[in-house]
């Protein structure tokens, strides 16, 4: 029963969601929205589990004096500092402290992390575009054409390079992308079928 009941729930919910896609009626829409509300409710409860997990892992690191344990202290201060500054008795999410912590610490740190992407793209491109084989050389040439199309100093070469770049993006690139997307679509349907039919059970903790 421990296995059968979850499988039955998955079968019923999976079939309902599949059928719902073809039934636009109001009752079907209501049930769909109701199911989505359940996902949100479960997510809220799971977040409490997540905070507990994070706190426990960090606390264990501190109590065992594991390597780099001071980072865990900073992480816990950050977590509980933001939670408490957002509480009502500190003025809620409109309070001076909460807004300033968010605007002047969280946002710049996140922007910094995102900005690192530019440097990582450069290092990844350096590795990818080294002409070590015939295929790598084709990749290098293609990348050069696509990147050069934005270069304003090309003069009369600008138009043919722009046209070549457009062709690369719209024909071979688009064809490959569509092939991947079709494969993904089929794979999704196949995996959904396997889950509904109880063939794939990895999400239950056992395959």
């Amino acid at each position: 029963m421990k296995k059968e009941i979850p499988l039955l729930i998955v079968l019923i919910c999976g079939l309902f969601m599949a059928i719902q896609f073809f039934v636009p009626n109001e009752a079907s829409q209501f049930l769909y929205r109701y199911a989505l509300d359940w996902v949100i409710v479960i997510g809220v409860f799971a977040l409490a589990l997540g905070i507990w997990s994070f706190t426990k892992v960090s606390y264990d690191k501190i109590s065992r004096r594991s390597e780099n344990w001071p980072y865990a202290v900073v992480a816990l201060i950050g977590l509980f500092g933001m939670i408490f500054s957002g509480f009502g008795f500190f003025g809620g999410m409109e309070s001076y402290m909460y807004k300033h912590l968010f605007q002047f610490i969280v946002v710049p740190i996140q922007a910094t992390m995102f900005a690192l992407l530019a440097f990582f793209i450069t290092s990844a491109a350096y590795r990818a575009f080294r002409a070590r084989s015939a295929l790598a050389t084709v990749l290098l040439a293609t990348a050069l054409i696509v990147m050069l199309r934005f270069n304003p100093f090309l003069g009369p070469l600008g138009d043919p390079i722009g046209a070549a770049a457009s062709w690369i993006l719209n024909v071979p690139n688009m064809a490959a992308k569509r092939a991947i997307v079709i494969g993904i679509g089929l794979g999704m349907v196949a995996t959904a079928l396997k889950v509904i039919l109880g063939i794939e059970r990895g999400y239950m903790g056992k395959d």
Binding site: A18, F21, F22, V23, P24, N25, E26, A27, Q29, V39, I42, A46, L47, A48, L49, G50, I51, S53, F54, K56, V57, D60, E67, N68, Y71, V106, I109, Q110, M113, F114, L116, L117, F120, S123, A124, R127, K177, I180, V181, I182, G183, I184, L186, G187, M188, V189, A190, T191, L193, K194, V195, I199, E200, R201, G202, Y203, M204, G205, K206, D207
Partner: protein, 403 residues
């Protein structure tokens, strides 16, 4: 001379009168302007393939639409609960437009609420700069929801065919038929990567990305995590699974715990090996990158749903010297993984990975069905190309999903 001037004056006067007679009379101040021709043949019908709360109004354009001095500027669409009115405006469309979808909401408290199963009457008003003309009243019409979306019939047929193929090949597999599946380098490297981590005495990092438990990529990744965790337990290596989503964390904990149990090493399982980090994208990246640089895992597995963080993670892993295997169904992130990782599962290969790792007939059967479906799509694409080239464009319309 004077006589000639008088004749010229009379001639000019006569010409002016003639020209004036050919033009429609301009509205004199205080007098109503002559109205344009009204729209005709107003037809109202329930909007198809929806939950109701919408009606489609169509009409024949006014004869003055795009012509003459009474040129139409807009059409106003009016609605009432009785043929006599009062009519209220539901929308305005520009000249040359002969169709309007009057769509409301299903919330009774909303001012734009559109009640289903209730009679409504419509008329269309042609508007010029100076006047307007109303059509005859059309209706009654009721909006109602349909029980089947006709526009999605091609999807239904495709799903039914694919389901049949999947069930057929699963049955074949159960009967013991040999099903060949091409090898995937990324999957075959998993065992090697776990072995390397064991030899080096370093952990394996498993990252789900930003997907939730309801994403197909994450569901496929759970199965792969189960297989990896079992191997890890057998080899007595350590595993680190930092999670972005708390539900994913809960399921992953259960998956890893069961894998250790199956491997006969439940005592080796550490609950804190699968932990929640944060639901902020770049804070999650910072935490995982920090783990990579401090713990120096021998192997990094990125399997699931990834967005802008893919390259940030994979490049840091490359800098840390780890073997990296990635797989995602996000087409825009695949190139980043291809350049930064040793092996990449492209798109559907991620879903297929669990079947490859287990070699179970039931799972292999669904892979075979996918291959056949892809073959069918390729044949249809070629046929569509030929049909469009040789003058049969309607062929494509059989596959069009309208809503």
């Amino acid at each position: 001379m004077i006589r000639q001037i008088v004749w010229l004056f009379l001639l000019a006067l006569l010409l002016a009168v003639c020209v004036q007679a050919q033009e429609p009379p301009a509205a004199a101040p205080g007098m109503p302007a002559a109205p344009p021709s009204p729209p005709t043949n107003v037809v109202v019908k329930d909007a198809p393939d929806d939950a109701g709360h919408a009606v489609i109004v169509s009409w024949t354009l006014s004869a003055d639409d795009g012509a003459g001095r009474r040129n139409i500027i807009t059409y106003r669409i009016l609605r009432a609960e009785t043929p006599a009115g009062p009519f209220t405006e539901r929308g305005v469309v520009g000249l040359g437009t002969s169709l309007y979808s009057d769509k409301g909401t299903d919330e009774e408290s909303d001012p734009n609420y559109f009640q289903n199963h209730k009679d409504f009457y419509y008329k269309v008003v042609a508007v010029t700069t100076a006047s307007e003309a109303e059509s005859a009243v059309a209706g009654p019409i009721q909006a109602y929801g349909q029980w089947y979306n006709v526009g999605r019939t091609p999807v239904l047929i495709a799903v039914l065919i694919f389901t049949f193929l999947t069930l057929f090949f699963i049955r074949q597999a159960k009967r013991g038929a040999y099903l060949y599946v091409r090898p995937l380098a990324g999957i075959e490297a998993v065992d090697e990567a776990i072995g390397r981590a064991t030899e080096m005495g370093k952990p394996i990092l498993y990252v789900f990305g930003l997907g939730t438990a309801s994403d197909i990529a994450t569901i496929a990744s759970f199965t792969i995590l189960g297989r990896v965790a079992k191997k890890v337990a057998e080899y007595q290596t350590s595993l680190i699974v930092p999670c972005y989503d708390p539900i994913v964390m809960t399921v992953a904990q259960e998956t890893v715990r069961t894998a250790y149990l199956d491997a006969g090493r439940p005592d080796s399982y550490r609950e804190d090996s699968v932990y929640f980090v944060t639901q902020a994208q770049f804070a999650y990246v910072a935490a995982v990158n920090g783990t990579m640089l401090r713990e120096r895992p021998a192997t990094n597995l990125y399997l699931g749903k990834f967005y802008a963080e893919s390259l940030l993670l994979a490049e840091t892993g490359a800098l840390a010297g780890s073997i990296q295997i990635a797989g995602t169904d996000e087409p825009t992130q695949i190139p980043f993984f291809v350049v930064a990782c040793d092996y990449t599962l492209i798109g559907e290969e991620l879903y297929a990975a669990s079947a490859y790792l287990g070699r179970e007939p039931l799972l292999l059967g669904s892979l075979k069905a996918q291959d056949w479906a892809k073959a069918a799509i390729i044949i249809l694409a070629i046929f569509g190309f030929l049909a469009a080239t040789f003058g049969w464009p309607e062929f494509v319309s059989y596959f069009r999903v309208t809503n």
